[in-house]
Symmetry: C2
Subunit: 210 residues, 2 copies
DNA sequence: ATTCATTGACTATCGAGTTAGTCAATTTTG
DNA sequence: CAAAATTGACTAACTCGATAGTCAATGAAT
């Protein structure tokens, strides 16, 4: 029977260890993290980690993969759902992104780890990009292209680089990573300012009174 | 006499060690960097490092401080020099930023180290911000405010958050940090698309033919 | 002769990975 | 059903290579 105490423990342990590993890796970085501390945080001993994971590298890679999965799924879900004018779409999309950035420390911290360890784990960066980055960018690009074809937005050069449109949101992530809570940002205002810039630009619109 | 071989060596050693430290820290991150390797790269032995620097932490902090100084000075110099309409200023300023990002690996790699080690060295992040980040942002903000007062640009919310305007450039830095040369970007086109977005936005301009 | 930048051998510690052993949960047997 | 046998998640104590930091000795420059 798979209903025993053993089966349940075996099913839950890896996740518990992964969560503990996430917290330690985020605090200390890959190299400075001690597997003993991960074990202590998960309420086991170091040997148990090696029962479930081959090596420290393997633990790290698996952790990034598993903990970024829900974020990835949430994003794809949003893109699949949303309709409306391009203008509405851009606003809703950025709003969604800001919700993730501001509320989900996982997203930010995974980003930190990928940036910090990009040299040591290039394959992990690429894998993450192929699974999350590229498809989402491509999806956004397509939506914008359609909007341009319908004449709802200009066919600007930034349509080829969705990163440009999302850039200010990434900026906020980096600020939050650098300063934690030492430099609080009014995310709501920042978000509105971002949407306004992306839609209207800095130059005065015709007939607009500044 | 200050013209002896000793004096020259003593004057140059710290810089040589700092440069070697930069390269090793960038490749391996703070914790994984071995002082023996730094020494070897600088052409000395480990003891010599301890003759000039108290500890590994001290070496790291000094390195970030010293190697970010020229970037900082270059930026301040640019801001002090430049005049012209706000529109021209924005273009020139972004152009300058992109030159730094694209050509100066120091800038990007310092950013990587600050993000990676923000938890371990919060004071270093704050110091760096006070010396480089805040003044430059404030300077940019003022220029834009003046432009808005003169009616050259809209008084948009993003004027209060210059990070929003620079965000896409930071985006490019992060992309370059993550992918090194595995995902080359056409910086010239990216730059033009960025300037266009910031000035014109996505929505069609009155009387414009898409 | 003296100074002092530099060396390199040293210590002390740390931490990844290993392994023999434990004991509760399960399965088998009488 | 109860006792015995087996399993397997988990532990504790280990190895061993590595590395931050120290310091007495060196030898070139003055």
């Amino acid at each position: 029977m798979a209903e025993g105490v053993r089966a349940r423990r075996k099913a839950e342990r890896p996740g518990e260890i992964l969560q503990a590993a996430f917290e330690e890796f985020v605090d200390r970085g890959y190299a400075a993290t001690r597997l003993e501390d991960v074990a202590a945080r998960a309420g086991v001993t170091k040997g148990t980690i090696y029962f479930y994971f081959e090596t420290k590298e393997n633990l790290f890679v698996t952790m990034v993969r598993e903990l970024s999965r829900p974020i990835h799924e949430e994003m794809e879900g949003f893109l699949a759902d949303h309709n409306g004018t391009t203008r509405e779409f851009v606003r809703a999309y950025l709003g969604f992104i800001y919700k993730v950035i501001a509320e989900d420390a996982h997203f930010r911290e995974i980003l930190r780890l990928l940036i910090a360890e990009a040299h040591r784990f290039p394959a992990l960066v690429d894998e993450h990009d192929e699974r999350c980055g590229t498809p989402i960018m491509e999806h956004l690009r397509q939506r914008l292209e359609e909007g341009a074809n319908r004449g709802e937005i200009r066919s600007a050069g930034s349509l080829d680089y969705p990163q440009i449109i999302l850039g200010p949101a990434l900026s906020l992530s980096v600020i939050m990573l650098l300063f934690s809570d030492r430099k609080p940002v009014d995310v709501e205002r920042y978000f509105e300012a971002h949407v306004d810039l992306v839609l209207n630009g800095l130059l005065p619109r015709n007939g607009e009174v500044s």
